[in-house]
Structures are given as structure tokens and as C-alpha cells.
Symmetry: C2
Subunit: 253 residues, 2 copies
DNA sequence: CGCAGAGTTGATACCAGTCAACAAAAGTGG
DNA sequence: CCACTTTTGTTGACTGGTATCAACTCTGCG
């Protein structure tokens, strides 16, 4: 279809100025002239297919990436060959920072669905950031947000039981969808049960059971990957682990 | 404050140039003249006492910190009030990055022992980094290393059993001590069993049992917080979870 | 129609959390 | 310096949550 092609062309051409994620991404808070400079170095890549990788373990750091749509997982591969999902990346969230330390990627970024990606050559980004204080500032802020998400992820894994982790996962996902202006109470999970399990440090059966339990309790409605949050308050309560933290405080007081 | 400043002139005088951590810290790879500029903005604070905090939850980001000796933990406090240790910081490792995202600290940095700290005012660091490409580069590298340590930490928590986590913990600690030129096979744990438990997402009893087991198996010798690694190879093997990952690989080959 | 992939559900075993008692070390005050 | 308390660490017994193995359902697809 010619219309589809022209549409595609448009999206390749589409600049940061017209991007709906502008306020969340690197361009946030920088001026018009500076935005043009940033725009010049950003390359929009053709759509990335599901399971395609943005970079692989051991690849030298050449660029950082931001998805405009779709979703990615970053997977670390341990010496013994097991895969561990270290991150989940929605549109507007920076990827590739794992290579900042050694100049070489420590994990692989895998597309969970067909996605469009902006690629920012790292060398050039450094140069431009050095000249544009507001861009430098925003770069550090975006990096910081990424660190924050890592900490949130960590918090899901430590001493939390299965339903709690799942509740935290859904809660966090909803919040992130809300941030990018997408429906937060009804969405499609971007990943399989297996991926969720790896992300949460659980067995996939446990994830499945958890979803079922939450559904039975009327907290959510699940149909495959389609999720509806029916009782947001209860989900929050479960996520913050109220029920079995209270007793300890009660016995004290 | 005034008396504090006169209090330790000597440590205030000590500059990055003479610091033994120079090659690991922000000054790594930057020239003599640039080093002087960085040195100008770094403030050396009087010793921090055990359990004293560098910053607290909600504090605005004013500076980033590097310990010259001692050790710190960073603690996240969840809505329900439980504490989660998100990081362990040895000399030369940057602290305070948790505030980059929102401009406000998400966790608290607590001294595990009396420590000397360099404080780098963040605003000034940004300014100077924008003018010194090699410093900007090194700043990003140090941030990247911090992200890498967070990922290593994550790897300890996911689907690993107790002794495995403890082995990974000791292995990682040894490596980090080696990096800063300290004995890697015999050292004092900078933290209590309780802290280790929170760091590894285990109950403190489980940590204690794990140490005992490793000692019984001749892998380490424990005496309170004093640790000696007796069988480094075996520790590595345990850390990388060979024994119950092998079968899968064997059945393949 | 059969097949493969994804997801659900059941039965069982085991690791680790919890409660509890004890031991050792480190402060505290006379 | 010694008795006391407090903190820190160790060990035991028991229970429960979750991994594991396994059977089954459901969907889409060639």
C-alpha cells in the first residue's frame, strides 16, 4: 500500500519536535535551537521485528536507544548460560546504559513486539551534551530514572512473595503506561508468562497461578495477555504488602 | 560548621592527585590541569561516624559522594516501612546517583563504619564536566559501573538459593577488594549478618547457616566478621551455580 | 486435522522463613 | 575489674510457599 509506505516514510522522517514522547525523552526541557542539534544526530531505524536484538552481549557501545512504540527486554546471560531479565523498557525509556561502564554491552536488548527505535550515536551525544547544558542535564536525569527503575525492580525481588511481586509488577506497569499517556487500567502485557517469570524471579507456573488468584479475588481480569485492573486500591494494598506486615506492628503496639 | 572546617585541615588538603583511588574514581584518565579544576570543587568532609547518614530519603540532590575508606550501604524504605538494602559501596564507588532521576534522594546512605568521604557538589560537577570532555566521559563511565554493580546485585537475588547467593556475595566482595588493592582472600565483612541478609533478600538465620555450611565444607573460614577464603575455585563454582545447572547442559551435549 | 506454542491447573517435595532458645561479644556502670 | 545488660551471631524444630514434574486446555497455523 502506498499509503502505508508514505506513512512509514513519515515516521522515519518524524523528528523529536513532533514526537509524542518529547516531554519524557532526551528532548525534555531543552530549547528549540538545541532540539534541532539533537535531532540531527538521532537516527530513526526501520521497524525492529519481534525477537530481533538491538545489541548483543559483548557488542561495543556505539549508541543508546529509545523505543517510540513497542517494548523491549534486556537480558543478562550468566556464566552458566541462564538468562536473567534485568530490565523491561517501554517507549521513552533509555536502553543501552549497561555498556557505559566498560564500553561493552553486558546484556542483550530484545524486542518483545515489533518496535520503532531511535538510535542515538553515543560519541555524538557526548559531544553535543557537552555543548548544551540543558541536554547534559536531561541526559543525566534520564539515566537517573533508569537507575530508579532498576531499584524498583530490585524491590520486587527481595523477600516478597509471589502474588506480591505480581501485584507490584502490574502496579508499576500501569504507572508507566499512564506516564506515556496510555490506558493504565486496561492493557496488553507486552511479554509472555515465561518472560514475566524471569523478570520476577519466579517459575512461570507460579506467575500463572498468581494471575489466576488475583482474578479469583476480583482484583484483575485476565484473558491471555489482556489485563484489566478492576480493583486498583486492592492491587496497591497487595503490592505494598500490607496484610502480613501489619501483624508485626500490631504485636508491638 | 566553621569549627568543623578548621577541624581537619589535613584531610581537606589531601587532593585527588595524591589519592590512592585516583585511577578508579572520577579523576581517572584526565589530565593534570583538568585534575586541578576537579580538585577545586571536591570537598573533603570530616570523618563520618558509623550509622551516620550522608543523605536521607527525600533530601534534594546537592552532591554525589565517594568514600576514601570505610563502607556504606544505601537503604530504600518502602511505603510499608521495611528497609531494603539496594547497594553496598566500597571506597572509590560513587554514591548518590539515586537522586539523578527526580532531583530528590530515593534512599539513604548509611556509614557501615567510620569513613572519610569526598563530597562533589553536583551543580559544579555538571558545569566542570561540560567543559572537560575527559571528565564527562569518566563521569558517565563511573555511573555505568554503578549500574553494572546494581545488575550484579540483581543477579544475586533472582532464582538463586541461599548458599549460592552468599557465594556470589563473597566472590563479588573479594573482587571489589582486589580492585582497590586490598587483600581479597582475607578480609573483614563491613556489615552485620542482618545487613547481609537484607542485601541478599534472605533471613539473617539463613545467612548464618550459609556461612556455617561454607565453613564446614572447607570453602571459607569464618570468625564473626573475619572471613578467609580457603578454596577460591570451589567458591566460584558455587557462585556460578554449576552443580544444578550442569545437568541441563550435559543432556544437550 | 494434527501440531506446536502458550497458558492453566494439580500433586508432591524441599528450601528457607519463622519462632525459639542459646552462646558469644560488646558495651555500661558500679 | 567484674557483674550486668544489650547486641550480635549460632543452632534447632517446624511450617509454609514455591519449584518441580506432569497432565491437560486452548489458540492459532500450516
Amino acid at each position: 500500500m502506498t499509503e502505508a509506505q508514505t506513512f512509514d516514510l513519515a515516521s522515519i522522517r518524524s523528528s523529536c519536535v513532533h514526537c509524542s514522547l518529547r516531554q519524557l525523552c532526551l528532548p525534555a526541557g531543552i530549547g528549540a535551537e538545541e532540539l534541532r542539534q539533537l535531532d540531527d544526530i538521532v537516527r530513526r531505524r526501520r521497524p525492529i521485528a519481534q525477537n530481533e536484538r538491538l545489541y548483543r552481549l559483548g557488542d561495543p557501545l556505539t549508541a543508546v536507544y529509545v523505543a517510540r512504540d513497542g517494548a523491549f527486554k534486556t537480558v543478562a546471560i550468566s556464566e552458566s548460560g541462564e538468562e536473567q531479565i534485568v530490565g523491561l523498557h517501554l517507549p521513552g525509556e533509555l536502553m543501552g546504559l549497561d555498556a557505559l561502564g566498560a564500553g561493552v554491552h553486558r546484556c542483550e536488548a530484545v524486542a518483545l513486539a515489533t518496535a520503532n527505535v531511535c538510535e542515538v550515536p553515543f560519541e555524538r551525544l557526548s559531544e553535543v551534551a557537552a555543548q548544551l547544558p540543558s541536554l547534559q542535564q536531561q541526559l543525566l536525569r534520564v539515566i537517573g530514572q533508569s537507575v530508579g527503575r532498576d531499584h524498583d525492580h530490585l524491590g520486587m525481588l527481595v523477600r516478597r512473595q509471589a502474588v506480591e511481586r505480581i501485584a507490584l509488577f502490574l502496579h508499576g506497569l500501569a504507572e508507566r503506561y499512564r506516564n506515556i499517556g496510555q490506558p493504565a487500567l486496561e492493557f496488553r502485557l507486552p511479554m509472555s508468562r515465561d518472560d514475566i517469570a524471569h523478570y520476577l524471579g519466579l517459575a512461570l507456573e507460579t506467575v500463572s497461578r498468581g494471575f489466576s488468584k488475583l482474578q479469583d479475588d476480583g482484583v484483575i481480569a485476565v484473558l491471555g495477555r489482556q489485563i484489566e485492573i478492576r480493583d486498583s486500591a486492592e492491587l496497591d494494598r497487595l503490592a505494598h504488602g500490607v496484610e502480613h506486615e501489619e501483624p508485626r506492628n500490631r504485636s508491638r503496639a
